[in-house]
């Protein structure tokens, strides 16, 4: 009898407890089709002026703009000539491209946010922020110049 009472007591002590109700919450994130608000193709002059300003932090001169516009028109593959123009911009000593502060995730995120704001005139969505920040964290050779060049030669940069 004593044994039975002991077993019953043990079972009573370790029997199922009522499960606590836990509610997980997610922060809202913005993931959207980024072309939705950009369906205007930049003109040649707009593209060159904006690209120059984004890289040098100053306004392109009239002469330089005229020269670049003529070169742009003289070449059929516009994407290729855009890449060549930007590569030449990036090889100038007076570029004003910020360096990446890799001291923390926060500073890297901040760099990515600033790049998106400057080049695409919008903030990155959470996926873009994570993807590019993750690339930067995992690759110390991924420079700000490479990021600028990549984003400036991507399709979105051609639109506003």
């Amino acid at each position: 009898m004593k044994k039975l009472i002991f077993i019953f007591s043990v079972l009573l002590l370790f029997s199922c407890k009522k499960e606590k109700k836990i509610t997980y919450q997610l922060n809202d994130v913005t993931i959207e089709n980024n072309s939705a608000n950009k369906d205007h193709l930049k003109s040649t002059i707009e593209f060159i002026s904006i690209a120059y300003s984004d890289i040098f932090g100053t306004v392109v001169s009239t002469n330089k703009l005229a020269e670049l516009s003529q070169i742009y028109k003289a070449f059929g593959d516009k994407k290729l000539i855009e890449q060549m123009v930007i590569k030449n911009f990036l090889n100038e000593p007076s570029t004003q491209i910020p360096q990446i502060d890799r001291s923390s995730t926060s500073t890297i995120n901040s760099f990515v946010q600033n790049v998106y704001t400057k080049l695409y005139n919008r903030t990155p969505d959470e996926y873009e922020l994570w993807f590019i920040s993750n690339m930067i964290e995992n690759d110390t050779d991924l420079t700000s110049e490479l990021i600028y060049f990549s984003l400036m030669t991507a399709n979105e940069y051609r639109y506003y």
């Binding site: 980024n34 003289a74 070449f75 994407k79 030449n88 050779d141 990021i147 399709n155 979105e156 051609r158």
Partner: protein, 434 residues
């Protein structure tokens, strides 16, 4: 073998012969339906407006001694205004092909762009032509890239123009179902291979392979995240990524050569002789040597000085003649192009019978081109291998129109039967070929 099995095997063999593409010794794959006369066509628009009186009729002597037979002397009143290129000591171009002395641009305004569009689309333009837009009908480049089998990349189709303006539009049309996806690589060398071009493109940041991989990955992510509207729908032809790298390297190499002075006198005739036509043809020759394109169109324009100066017009005709012969010589000395290329030359239109009231220092009256009969009279020359193109043949009576060039090129490259019916009204110049 049983009779039924024999017949079945015979049928299969015949079907395979008809239906399966075959490889030529060159390794190029052809669809069985397209029999080519040659694997390369170069179309040189001897343009700017050349009147038959000064070209094939030799009213002021033989201003085209590299193209035309004859030793007629240059008119004495203008001879001192001619800056002569070296004399021709070899065989003329007309002896190496078929010359149409009385070709015609029968309809449409005899303006440069409209006549270029006619020559490159095979369709006459109307009075409502928009010179700020791409042509309405498919260009020869689009017809080639869409209907040739197998389809070829843009690196096989080039449009090299003397000047900018509307000519940049001629590498593709607005015609539904065609457009930039089938267009040609366009370049106007005078703007690219220049001091301004070098200043803005000649100091390029070079990325190594590892850096290029990072760029490709990051750009690819951005493009995937952005619904791409750029390729095809926008205002550009598109090369493959591999071809882009090649073309960029080629342009950079041209800058190096230009900086070393190699563009100053590339033909060894004295730097002072070159005009923009000759420099443009020189660049076309570099494209030919580098890429051996299946289709290349190049134009000259410097004879258009005739609007203000007749003698300089005559001077530039003999320079264009020299440039055309040099182009043909380069083709014949380029492995892969030699003996496998047909060169077609034609002015886009002529010039008026009557002068415009402006006189040059030699007392000659300048000429416009405003739709009179003389401005519709042109010549055409088709050069090619002796077994393919009829040699030393001349048509002195009216024969052929400027809309015939596009169907003729399509026939040479073997895709004329694949073109949609009703698109072209011109005829193949069959009498030029064996």
């Amino acid at each position: 073998m049983k009779r039924r099995k024999f017949i079945r095997n015979l049928g299969l063999g015949t079907a395979a012969t008809i239906g399966v593409p075959y490889l030529l010794p060159s390794g190029r794959l052809f669809a069985a339906s397209g029999v080519r006369k040659a694997n390369h066509v170069v179309f040189c628009l001897f343009a700017g407006g050349v009147r038959n009186l000064e070209s094939v009729h030799k009213n002021d002597g033989n201003l085209m001694p590299y193209t035309l037979k004859g030793t007629e002397g240059i008119s004495s009143d203008i001879i001192s205004g001619i800056n002569f290129v070296p004399p021709n000591t070899g065989i003329t171009l007309q002896e190496q092909g078929t010359l149409y002395k009385e070709f015609r641009m029968k309809y449409g305004p005899t303006g440069h762009y409209g006549a270029h569009a006619t020559a490159m689309t095979g369709v006459y333009t109307g009075e409502n032509l928009n010179i700020n837009a791409n042509p309405q009908y498919p260009t020869i480049f689009e017809l080639y890239r869409k209907h040739n089998s197998p389809s070829m990349s843009a690196k096989n189709a080039w449009w090299i123009s003397n000047s900018l303006g509307a000519y940049a539009h001629l590498n593709y049309s607005t015609y539904e179902g065609y457009g930039p996806d089938f267009g040609a690589n366009y370049i106007q060398p005078a703007s690219i291979i220049s001091q301004e071009g070098f200043d803005n493109l000649g100091n390029s940041r070079i990325y190594n392979n590892t850096e290029e991989e990072k760029i490709t990955a990051l750009r690819g992510f951005c493009d995937a995240h952005f619904s791409s509207q750029y390729n095809g729908a926008a205002n550009s032809i598109t090369n493959t990524e591999e071809d882009k790298v090649e073309i960029e390297a080629f342009i950079n190499q041209c800058f190096i050569e230009a900086a070393a002075g190699q563009f100053n006198d590339p033909w060894g005739i004295g730097g002072g002789l070159y005009n923009n036509d000759m420099q443009t043809v020189n660049f076309a020759e570099k494209i030919i040597q580098e890429y051996k394109p299946e289709l290349l169109v190049v134009n000259m324009q410097d004879v258009d000085i005739a609007h203000s100066n007749f003698t300089l017009y005559a001077n530039n005709i003999q320079k264009a003649d020299y440039a055309l012969a040099h182009l043909w010589n380069t083709i014949q000395n380029t492995p892969g192009m030699a003996e496998d290329t047909i060169l077609i030359a034609m002015p886009e239109h002529g010039r008026n019978q009557d002068g415009n009231g402006l006189y040059d220092g030699y007392g000659r009256e300048a000429l416009d081109h405003t739709n009179d009969d003389y401005s519709r009279e042109i010549f055409s020359l088709i050069l090619g291998p002796s077994g393919i193109v009829v040699q030393d043949q001349v048509f002195s009576q009216e024969k052929g129109e400027s809309i015939d060039i596009v169907p003729t090129i399509a026939n040479i490259l073997g895709f004329d039967n694949d073109l949609p019916g009703g698109l072209l009204n011109g005829n193949i110049l069959t009498e030029s070929f064996y």
